[in-house]
Symmetry: C2
Subunit: 339 residues, 2 copies
C-alpha cells in the first residue's frame, strides 16, 4: 500500500471512531491536502483492497474488519494517558491496603467508567491451582465451615450443618488426613483422589464416613465451580455507544453478558502479557464487538483483563490504558522480587 493510502486509511478509521458516521470524501480534503475527487479515487482503491466498505452505493465509507486490523497493526500509536487518568490509576494502585487483585478490579471499573466500554477481569482458572490446605472451623450449633485454600492463595469457604450424631473432632481428623495425602494436588483432581484414596481409609476409621466424605466432596466441588472469579464492570456502559440504538442488538448483548460460561471463554490462553486485539469475527464472544485483552501475572496469581467495546473502539486509548496497567503490574512484580 502506498503512503498516501495508508494515511487515508488512518484518517478514515480515526474519523469514523470519533464520529460514528460514514466518512465522505469531502471530509478529508484538508487532512490529505487534495481534492475530494482524488480522495474518491483512492477510496475506490482501498475498497478494492478490502480495507473499507460502504453501507450502500452512495454512502460514505466505513472501515472493514480488515481495515481496523491493518490500522491497529500498522498505523495506530498507543495514546499517552492524560494526567488525570494517570492520577486516578495511581491513586488506586498506591493504596497499599488493597490486595492487588482488588486494585486491578478497581482500575478496570474506572476504565469502564471513563471509556464507556465494558471491562472484564477473569481470575485464574482452577485448573492451575494446587491444594494447599483444607481447614475445618467449628461454629457451634452443629455447624462447621470447610475452608479450601490453594497454593495461589485463593480461598473458598462453605458452611455445612452436620448431623448431631457426628463428632466434629472426626471431621477435623479427616481434614488432617486430606492435608497429608492430597497436598499439592491440582484442585480439579482432588475429588477423584478423595474417592479412591481417602474414602477407603476413613471408611475403616470413622463411623459415618459417608456423611463426612460428602462434606469434603461438596466443598471441593463448590470450589471448582466458583473459583473462576469473574468481575465485570459497566455491563451497560457499552450501550451508551451509538451503535446500540436497536432493542434487538441490546438484548442480544445483555444476554451474552449474563451468560457466565460465555464470559469465561474470553480468558486469554497465551502466556505473554502482550496486548491482543480481537476484532469482530476474530473473537468468539460477539461478532459486533472488539475485545482487547491481556494476561497479567503477579505474585503467583494470574488472570486476564479485557475491554469489550464496539469495533469502532478508541483503540489507541484503550491500548494505552492497558499498557499502563501492565507496566505497573510488572513493576510491582519486579519490585517484589527485589525485596
Amino acid at each position: 500500500m502506498e503512503e498516501r493510502q495508508k494515511l487515508l486509511l488512518k484518517e478514515i478509521v480515526e474519523y469514523y471512531i470519533k464520529t460514528a458516521r460514514p466518512v465522505g470524501s469531502k471530509a478529508l480534503c484538508e487532512k490529505l491536502n487534495c481534492s475530494s475527487a482524488t480522495i474518491r479515487n483512492e477510496m475506490a482503491h482501498l475498497e478494492d483492497l478490502g480495507y473499507i466498505e460502504k453501507n450502500h452505493i452512495s454512502s460514505g465509507r466505513i472501515p472493514s474488519e480488515k481495515g481496523y486490523k491493518y490500522y491497529v497493526e500498522n498505523l495506530m500509536k498507543p495514546k499517552e494517558l492524560s494526567g488525570e487518568d494517570i492520577l486516578n490509576l495511581q491513586t488506586i494502585f498506591s493504596n497499599r491496603d488493597l490486595e492487588l487483585s482488588d486494585a486491578i478490579n478497581k482500575c478496570m471499573d474506572m476504565i469502564s467508567d471513563i471509556t464507556n466500554y465494558t471491562s472484564i477481569v477473569l481470575g485464574k482458572n482452577s485448573k492451575e491451582n494446587l491444594l494447599q490446605q483444607v481447614s475445618i472451623i467449628p461454629l457451634g450449633n452443629n455447624k462447621v465451615v470447610a475452608l479450601v485454600c490453594t497454593d495461589k492463595g485463593i480461598v473458598e469457604s462453605k458452611q455445612f450443618s452436620v448431623d448431631i450424631t457426628i463428632d466434629i473432632a472426626e471431621i477435623v481428623k479427616v481434614s488432617e488426613i486430606i492435608n497429608k495425602m492430597l497436598f499439592g494436588t491440582p484442585i480439579d483432581e482432588v475429588n477423584e483422589r478423595l474417592e479412591f484414596e481417602i474414602k477407603p481409609i476413613i471408611s475403616k476409621q470413622i463411623d459415618q464416613y459417608e456423611k463426612v466424605y460428602n462434606i469434603f466432596y461438596n466443598a471441593f466441588d463448590d470450589f471448582v465451580k466458583n473459583t473462576s472469579n469473574v468481575h465485570i464492570s459497566g455491563k451497560s456502559k457499552i450501550f451508551n455507544q451509538p451503535e446500540y440504538q436497536d432493542a434487538k442488538d441490546i438484548k442480544k448483548l445483555v444476554n451474552k453478558f449474563d451468560d457466565e460460561n460465555l464470559i469465561k471463554k474470553i480468558d486469554e490462553s497465551s502466556d505473554s502479557n502482550e496486548i491482543k486485539i480481537y476484532i469482530g469475527d476474530e473473537n468468539e464472544f460477539d461478532d459486533d464487538v472488539t475485545i482487547i485483552k491481556s494476561k497479567y501475572h503477579v505474585k503467583g496469581e494470574e488472570g486476564t483483563i479485557a475491554i469489550v467495546g464496539p469495533k469502532r473502539m478508541e483503540y489507541d486509548r484503550v491500548v494505552g490504558l492497558l499498557d499502563y496497567i501492565n507496566k505497573y503490574i510488572e513493576d510491582l512484580e519486579s519490585g517484589e522480587d527485589k525485596k
Copy 2:
C-alpha cells in the same frame, strides 16, 4: 363497586395480562354475556372510578395501577402450580446436599426461567449479624487468611500479605483478644469498638500494632461491604416481555439491574413472610415494573426473595409460586424444630 363491574375489571386485567394489548369492548361480550355497548357503558364507569385508562381517545382500555391493585387485593386467586412446576421445585428442595440458601437461589433461577421475569434473592443484611468468631489461618509465604464469621453462619474470608517483620503468632493473639472482647457485637459496629477498645490494648503488647490492626480493620470492613449477598437470575429475561421493545426502556432497566445499591433497597423490611406486591409507583426500584416480594426466615437466616416483572405480570401465578416456596421453607423450619 357492583358485581358486574368487578367481573369486568377482572376480565380486563386478565385479558391484558395475557395479550399485552388494550382491551376493546367487543372482546369481552361473551365473557360478560351482554353486548359491546353495555360493556362500553360499564367501562366508562370504571374509568371514572380510575381503575382503567386508555392510551388515547379511541383505544381499548388498560388497567391503571389502581386497577391492578384492586385486582390483586380483591379479585385474584393465587394459581395452583402445575404438576411439572411442583416437581421441579421439589427436586431442588429435596437435594439434601444443598444448603437451604443455595436451594432458594436455585428455585428462583427456575422461576425466572419459567416465567420470563427477573428474580432476586437478597441475603440478610449485615446489620442483623453479630460477630461470632474471627480466625487467622496462616498460609505460609507470608500470607494469612482472616476469616470473619457471624452468629448466623455467614463467613467472609480475606487474604493478606503480611510484612515479614511481623510474627504471625502475634496476629493470632490479637484475633483471640478480639474474640474474647467483641463476641456478639453487631458486625457493623465492630470496627468502631476495634479502634477504641482493642487498639489501645494491643498498642501496649505488640510492636507493629498499627499493621496488625489494619488487617482486622480491613477484614471487617470488607465483610460489611460484601455481606449482603445479592443473587439475581434472568436479568435479561424480563426483556422478553413485550413492553420492552424500545431501546431506551431496556437501557434504563439494564442500568438499574447493574446498580447494586439500588437492588439492595428492594430488601423487604417487614417481619412477616407474607407476600407483598408493589405495583409501579409503589416500588422504589422502577416505575414501570411490579415487584412481588416476601421475606423468608429459616434456621436463623433471613432474606428477601423478589420477582421483578412488568406491571402486566401474571400475578396469580407468581403469588402461587412464592406461596409454595414460603410454605416449603416454613415446613422445613418446623420440621427442624421437631428434631
